[in-house]
Subunit: 208 residues, 2 copies
Amino acid sequence: MRVAELSRRSGVPVPTIKFYLREGLLPPGERTAPNQARYGPQHLRRLRLIRALVEVGGLGVEAVRTVLAAVDADLPQHEVLGAAHRALSATPALPDDEAAAAALADVDRFLAERGWQVAPDAPSRRDLARVLLALRGLGRRADAEVFAAYADAADALAARELDALADADDAAGAVERVVVGTVLFETALAALRRLAQEHHSARRGNGV
Amino acid sequence: MRVAELSRRSGVPVPTIKFYLREGLLPPGERTAPNQARYGPQHLRRLRLIRALVEVGGLGVEAVRTVLAAVDADLPQHEVLGAAHRALSATPALPDDEAAAAALADVDRFLAERGWQVAPDAPSRRDLARVLLALRGLGRRADAEVFAAYADAADALAARELDALADADDAAGAVERVVVGTVLFETALAALRRLAQEHHSARRGNGV
């Protein structure tokens, strides 16, 4: 198909498609004339993946590039997962002070007590330490145990998610499923938590 | 305290504090000389709240403004929650086409079947519809029931969270707790899900 049809079928404007081509996020089409190229279903699929990452996951161009590189590198599933996580956790380094070191040590202890096997430098550890630091700055309860109920919920969900991946018979699509699952269901989980909060708040009559 | 001490105690650089003052996110200090002002503990607290929203929650200036306006307006807790949610769900409108309308209808049906009392225009409904649309675009399972396990987890967490708020004896701090809880624990939950995925992936030997 020509770029106009690719645009129509994906809902992505032609200038945006050209931007993705220039940035190397979308592989070039097959050149049919000096100023014309033909695109296939793999371009449509890749374009939809990019849009899902950008529009639903809120990822920037560099984060998308990181994720797609992992998808294309034919890495083991575990490493693709790691790449998707790193792209999502684009948090800056923690402050270089005692409070930050103490928060990170608390998070590490909390995870170790749960027996979770996670890389010592997983960026999500820093995300949690940052939450602890912010809570402490606001005078809130400041113990990593505050995460316990969330960790229980996350543990149950992740076990289901990895089971579903193991059952998938589409080996070629498995890597894409990892990425999509990580990014899209993170958005879904956040949206559902807000809706559930609204529901429980309304039920308690706080809305009246 | 002077602005230099406010900066030292909050860890926020003086130019950033001045930016927040200009933007009206931070109320002005008490003027002590034409070019000097004095700040109190309420400024320090507000600054820490802004930083938590920006650095941990990833909110932009306009979203922070929306949240702080709700905090300051002395609204009922339910409405503060709504304002915090709107600030977090800064997703654009859905496409104006049949596929989007169908996805939104599925989400609405799913929530109605669960008996969740949520506003018909809650932005999180759109977030969920957007996830469904993206999944469908990628040829994935396209039924709102795909959210069921996430909704169960969110329901249990939200019930706990609202219970904890009801138990708090600090009425003045309750509004801030709502905002902080919504924003910071959303980050924490996402980070914990990624860590749990990594753990389950490693246990299944995909990392080897």
